[in-house]
């Protein structure tokens, strides 16, 4: 057991997976010798050799396309897209190929790949280092979509993702890499070492994909969040004093609808939070499901708090980011509705 940051946890997951299974290979831009711009793959090339962890040309379609070919051969590639904002050139390979191989070949070929990508803002990265494109994956059947919110989950889920027989999009909220950021950007940064979920076993363990986790029990309102927004939601609950139940989805596809329905049936109120832009975001799907499955329990409309429907601006980052104040306002509103 060690205290790990999210970066260390992600690295440890790959290390454990590569150690257990020779078919696991890791590659992407700058991930080889250098160990990745966020250092998530540091040390893996030295440990496992150049043919199991290596640098690639800057071509995301090529990274994913070759990974698909390797998976068809029988390997288990775990590749990195340097920023989620750069997955678009690979979108065809991800959605029309990786997601379809099993189906169109009736299982003759399969595609057990993991595509890791840092997501989200909060680092003054501007519109091309801050995006949260999860809804562009959740609309694509055949993919799984995972978003961890802490080191413990990150490691367990990443190992599960690598072992999964189907393609998994593994979105890593980069603002969480070094600490449980709760949106209070004006306060000093807390490191992970102070957080219980940074207690991470060194060895193998895995967390099933598709199970949500209640991060805070509450009776007044259900807040549904994932990634960075879990911590923001917790802060908003503290700040407002509203007795919110905070659900950390962890996996968006498949979705743990049971956990959601159970909680909302109890609280009768629901706020969905994400950093991605509002319109057609994954929050729309959740709101639609909640009103469908909990209609007769709902005492107020399901509210959504999300990034504005604009590109992520550079300088006005904190006016854009749906921080604890905005989430708190939604909590108050939904309680008063």
């Amino acid at each position: 057991m060690a205290r790990m940051t999210m970066i260390e946890a992600v690295r440890s997951a790959m290390d454990v997976a590569m150690g257990r299974d020779e078919d696991v290979v890791v590659f992407g831009e700058d991930v080889g010798y250098f160990g990745g711009v966020f250092r998530c793959t540091q040390g893996l090339q030295a440990k496992y050799g150049k043919t199991r962890c290596f640098d690639t040309p800057i071509n995301e379609s090529g990274i994913v396309g070759t990974a698909i070919g390797m998976a068809a051969y029988g390997l288990k590639p775990c590749v990195e897209i340097q920023f989620a904002d750069y997955m678009y050139p690979a979108y065809d390979q991800l959605t029309q190929e990786a997601a379809r191989i099993r189906y169109r070949s009736n299982g003759d070929f399969t595609c057990p790949i993991v595509v890791r990508m840092p997501t989200g803002g909060g680092i003054f990265g501007g519109q091309t280092h801050s995006q949260s494109p999860e809804a562009l994956f959740t609309h694509v059947c055949g993919l799984k979509v995972v978003v961890p919110s802490n080191p413990y989950d990150a490691k367990g889920l990443l190992i599960a993702a690598i072992e999964d027989p189907d393609p998994v999009m593994f979105l890593e909220p980069k603002r969480l890499y070094n600490g449980p950021f709760d949106g209070h950007h004006e306060r000093p940064v807390t490191p992970w070492s102070k957080h219980e979920l940074s207690d991470v076993p060194d060895d193998y363990y895995s967390i099933p994909i598709g199970k949500a986790e209640v991060r805070r029990q509450g009776s007044a309102v259900t807040v549904i969040a994932y990634g960075t927004m879990v911590h923001v939601a917790l802060a908003a609950a503290e700040d407002t004093g509203i007795d919110a139940e905070v659900i950390d989805l962890r996996s968006l596809l498949p979705l743990d609808l049971d956990a959601i329905v159970k909680s909302v049936s109890k609280t009768g109120r629901c706020v969905v939070v994400h950093e991605a832009t509002l319109t057609s975001g994954f929050g729309g799907e959740i709101a639609a499901l909640v009103q469908e499955h909990c209609f007769y329990h709902l005492e107020a409309p399901v509210m959504r708090v999300a990034g504005w429907d604009t590109p992520y601006p550079h300088a006005q980052e904190w006016d854009y980011f749906p921080g604890p104040a905005r989430v708190g306002r939604a909590l108050t509103d939904v309680m008063e509705a």
């Binding site: 396309g65 070919g69 169109r104 609808l257």
Partner: protein
């Protein structure tokens, strides 16, 4: 500052459009036997010329000549002819089946039979093709059961792909045939990945990537060349230049480069151009590339110069964009007739045996068809289940799909 006139946009056009006289005088064709055969470990920069010529073995008289000749036994050659004839007969029957409404769609190989049939013979069991929709010869020449192909085409109850895929979008791992994609070029880079995996595992199996002339314009063609070049992947990068991409002539994709093979040169990948209607030449060049790959010498790019005699697909009518008689003017002839002539010249075949073989093959195809039709055709008889819609999206069906399947009543 240079004083200049006005700019204008150059939009390439084929030499002839409907109403005009077919003209292939611009197609430069090397004499059979004229192009040298370098060692497989020749440096890419020393054999650049091969990207601009055409490797040919069978000459006008049907003789096999030059350094690329001599690889195939008499039996191989007769088998090769039979494969091409089978593919042609298969196409003819399935085209008719489509017209009869037994399936929704079909794509034929007419004029291009040599490419996939001869290529298959250069591969070993275990090697993997990443084909497009116009390489069914890979199946035929590997003795994949025609009835299975037809089951897929008919989307019937025995369709190995459970009705999910468009007709002819086959898949068979056992036969080294990767599931065909409807999205052009995506499979090209996947082939490179498969080959890289084989190299990572110190295996000896190689991959073959397939693409059409038009589709080389797609970005994944580039991705494939970049990765293949960098990691020296054991892959054969095939470009089937059949002159047309639906209604678009090859000049639009090729642009100012002399040939498609030339695309390899910018990557330091040895690139050969071959007469795609010459069974012997295709086979010889494929063997050369396969040996390179197996000897860990890296990728080879091959352009097969051929001609799409038929329509693009059953949804297409080429008379709207090219002269009806263009295929007759095509200077590289018909692959079946050319190999037949060679066999007759060598005393291995005769007109009579050809007619007889044709009849036999037709019977085989019809027998397969009958068997397939027992399991249903597109709109009649046995069909895959509605349940099959929901299976196989994931290894394990997630709850939301189970709910939907139940809603659908299954």
């Amino acid at each position: 500052m240079v004083d200049t006139g006005h700019l204008s946009l150059h939009v390439p056009e084929p030499a002839v459009r409907p109403g005009g006289q077919p003209d292939f005088s611009n197609v430069k064709i090397a004499r059979a036997g004229a192009v040298p055969r370098p060692d497989v470990d020749a440096a890419a920069e020393d054999i650049r010329d091969l990207a601009y010529s055409i490797i040919r073995v069978l000459n006008r008289d049907g003789e096999a000549v030059g350094p690329w000749a001599g690889l195939l036994s008499d039996d191989d050659l007769r088998t090769g002819l039979r494969h091409m004839m089978t593919l042609r007969a298969f196409d003819a029957r399935m085209l008719m089946a489509q017209r009869q409404g037994k399936t929704s769609f079909y794509m034929q190989h007419l004029g291009e039979e040599a490419v996939s049939c001869a290529f298959r013979k250069a591969l070993n069991k275990g090697d993997m093709n990443f084909p497009t929709y116009r390489q069914a010869g890979l199946f035929i020449a590997d003795d994949y059961p025609m009835v299975e192909m037809m089951n897929q085409i008919y989307s019937n109850e025995s369709d190995p792909l459970r009705g999910r895929q468009l007709p002819i979008m086959y898949s068979s791992k056992d036969h080294g045939f990767f599931t065909i994609s409807g999205n052009l070029a995506t499979q090209y880079v996947q082939a490179v990945g498969w080959a890289m995996a084989s190299a990572i595992k110190n295996d000896s199996r190689i991959a073959a990537a397939w693409i059409g002339d038009g589709s080389t314009a797609e970005s994944d063609f580039h991705s494939a060349l970049v990765f293949a070049s960098t990691y020296r992947a054991p892959v054969i990068l095939n470009v089937v230049n059949n002159q047309w991409a639906i209604s678009t002539f090859q000049g639009i994709a090729r642009g100012g480069s002399g040939t498609f093979a030339a695309r390899g040169l910018g990557f330091g990948i040895p690139a050969l151009r071959v007469d795609g209607n010459d069974y012997l030449a295709v086979h010889a060049v494929a063997c050369w590339a396969a040996e390179r790959a197996r000897r860990n010498l890296g990728p080879t790019l091959i352009e097969y110069v051929t001609y799409r005699v038929g329509a693009h697909s059953t949804s297409d009518d080429p008379s709207a964009y090219r002269p009806k008689t263009e295929s007759e003017a095509w200077p590289l002839g018909d692959p079946v007739l050319r190999l037949k002539k060679h066999l007759i010249l060598r005393g291995l075949w005769s007109e009579e045996r050809h007619v007889q073989a044709e009849a036999e093959i037709t019977d085989e195809v019809i027998a397969a068809q009958r068997k397939a039709e027992e399991h249903g055709t597109m709109h009649a008889g046995g069909r895959p289940s509605v349940r099959d819609i929901f299976e196989g999206v994931y290894a394990e069906m997630p709850p939301h799909l189970r709910r939907q399947r139940q809603k659908a009543g299954y």
